[in-house]
Amino acid sequence: MSATALPAPTGKEQTTHPAASFLASSIGRKVVMALTGLVLFGYVVVHMLGNLQIYLGPAALNAYAVKLREMPALLWGVRGLLLVSVVLHVWAAASLTRTNMDARAVGYRRRRNRESSYASRTMRWSGVILLLFIVYHLLHLTFGTVHPSFVDGDVYHNVVSGLQVGVAPLFYVVAMLALGLHMFHGVWSLMQTVGLSHPRYDRLRYAFAAFITAVVVIGNLSFPLAVMTGLLKEPASRKVAIHTAP
């Protein structure tokens, strides 16, 4: 047998840098999606748990905010990691979506789904909603740009007054429902993408994703609902103090 019978290697890794060919490959982009998703998932859990301190009253929550600001290395390290993760996550999503749309230019007249879930089919939409929400949320409660009465450092006041007016609480509720769908599919899906699969443990992936998603969504939904139902309100004396502050 001569060597000419062998198919010519068509892979591009011989000429390009391994990292570049990895990032160009389908699996490589999926792994970027999964790992950045893992970072964002971890942050969302910690963020929700930290925010639960709102139920301990204004002093506790504002003290927590001060504590975070006293650790600039951690604060800015996390912010940097989140920014990089969001950018890479969106890049991977856009790039993979384009590949997937190009793969079937002509669709079916009739299509029946058997195994996919509402969450899996709406990842793109829940993702877009979440991206818009993140921008809004930063302008609302971090920078205060779109907040009616933002007071730097008074986190409790900002949250409670910010969730009382207009469509803001509604947007928070919608975004958290989108987060639920996105997180449930994302959390178990990222395990499949990085190759974590075993007949004995596969059911645990769904159970874990469902549990952690429920915890985060219920925790996060409780804030706007607590404000809307009047469970969380500003102490009358404090309110006066804030409004008279220079």
Binding site: T10, S25, S26, A103, N113, Q192, S197, D202
Partner: protein, 259 residues
Amino acid sequence: MNLRLHVWRQRNAADSGRFVTYPAADISPDMSFLEMLDVVNEGLIARGEDPIAFDHDCREGICGTCGMMIDGQAHGPRRATTACQLHMRTFHDGDEITIEPWRADSFPVVKDLVVDRTAFDRIVAAGGFITAPTGSAPDGNAIPVPKTSADLAMDAAACIGCGACVAACPNASAMLFTAAKVSHLGLLPQGQPERYARVRRMVSQMDAEGFGTCTNHFECEAACPKSISVRFIARLNRDYLRAVLTGGGEPARVEGGAG
């Protein structure tokens, strides 16, 4: 049984194609789906019309030649069943059935329901050969293979390459096919020497063919007539990651002399 069929008719690759409705009269519930199409085609031929073109060969569910989208499902509504093994008793008298070819840019329509699946052949070819002694036959059981590995490899090797996974995938991804082909050799000792080079080359070819990427809908597993598990996709991801992280399968750097 009497049925109404909405069938995709396309003269050739250049034709834009359209749906045409045909009645299918006096169909026996014991017929296979392809036999039902044969009956319709005989009527078309008798009337001097062009019969509906569809791929088929063994008609016993083992060759992977047949396949079409039947009412929005690859190979029709029955699990683990090819179109040729799908019987008309699955349907009801008076049903309207929409029949379409596999839709993926990597599977261009040749005619009517026939698509060109040579993209799959090129993925397999990219995998290359395994190093195996080609002299006399090896002794039986000379290479120990764990029973679980042999079973898993066999599960992967059950893939008949029909393309239902691509057809059913919302992204027209060929991950399940590629995963099955990568895994059945990757699980066996004979497949180890080229394991990482093979996974790199096959994934690279899969991407080059323009298939979509996996978003874990798992429609492929549901549509697969051989019920190939999406766990093989996790295995493919694992093998590919291991190849990239460890440099496995990269062309050897020439250092030092040949002595």
